[in-house]
Symmetry: C2
Subunit: 141 residues, 2 copies
């Protein structure tokens, strides 16, 4: 069984790049700097489905991505979460939160309707993230 | 600076035990089997604040606690999340979710009012969790 991105995640996100274990996606919602990591492990649903090596890789990638968001955006808080009640495929949200964002202090899920990025804003965000993660993404090739 | 549990977490939970890195708490809400791990690291707010050793310990404890919930309760899904928008002290939620629970498929945060455990149900839940985690908690002493 080959890894294939869940169709709902595919529809709701823009591809950023491949990390050593995970595909890195940007949620199509300009209200929040909202990344999603999807380990490229076919059939994985839970963190507990990964072996210890892949768990450690995922943790390292979550920390790297979290630090990139901190360095680029200086959020008040990171929200890191593996929920998956709607999309079963294992995926982990890493969201930069601000005290004036649309959902603060509540979680972002279920908060109104997503606001699509304007083309220029999307290009800037993808460029900044890819540049900051270049070293990590290069190692995935 | 010594570790001290955040007063809000103290008020909202019941103590289960000490894992090697984290204090393990049960949320006082009988609607959801809802555990919280609080690494005993004074001043930690983000996963990115922990050093690599403590990050790995926290990950191992999350997986152990998640597997205990899976083995005891057979949930449809685990929800694992570090949010902290309201309580800044680093804490990670591990929640067993069911398709007939009070919030499904939405996240549990902000879903109505907590329902306190009846004394007997609380005793049973604590006993089952402490028994299942005895091996891990023993190593924390």
């Amino acid at each position: 069984m080959n890894f294939r991105l869940d169709p709902r995640l595919l529809a709701d996100t823009t591809f950023i790049g491949e990390l050593p274990l995970s595909r890195l996606l940007l949620m199509n919602d300009a209200r929040f700097p909202w990344l999603i990591l999807v380990p490229r492990i076919a059939g994985a649903r839970e963190l507990t489905d990964l072996d210890a090596t892949d768990q450690a890789s995922l943790l390292a990638e979550l920390v790297q991505v979290g630090r990139v968001l901190e360095d680029l955006l200086h959020p008040v808080k990171l929200n890191i979460a593996a929920l998956g009640n709607t999309v079963a495929q294992l995926h982990v949200h890493v969201i930069a939160r601000f005290s004036n964002d649309a959902a603060w202090p509540r979680p972002v899920w279920g908060c109104g309707e997503p606001v699509p990025y304007a083309a220029e804003a999307l290009g800037l965000r993808l460029g900044a993230l890819r540049s900051a993660l270049r070293g990590v993404m290069d190692r995935a090739r």
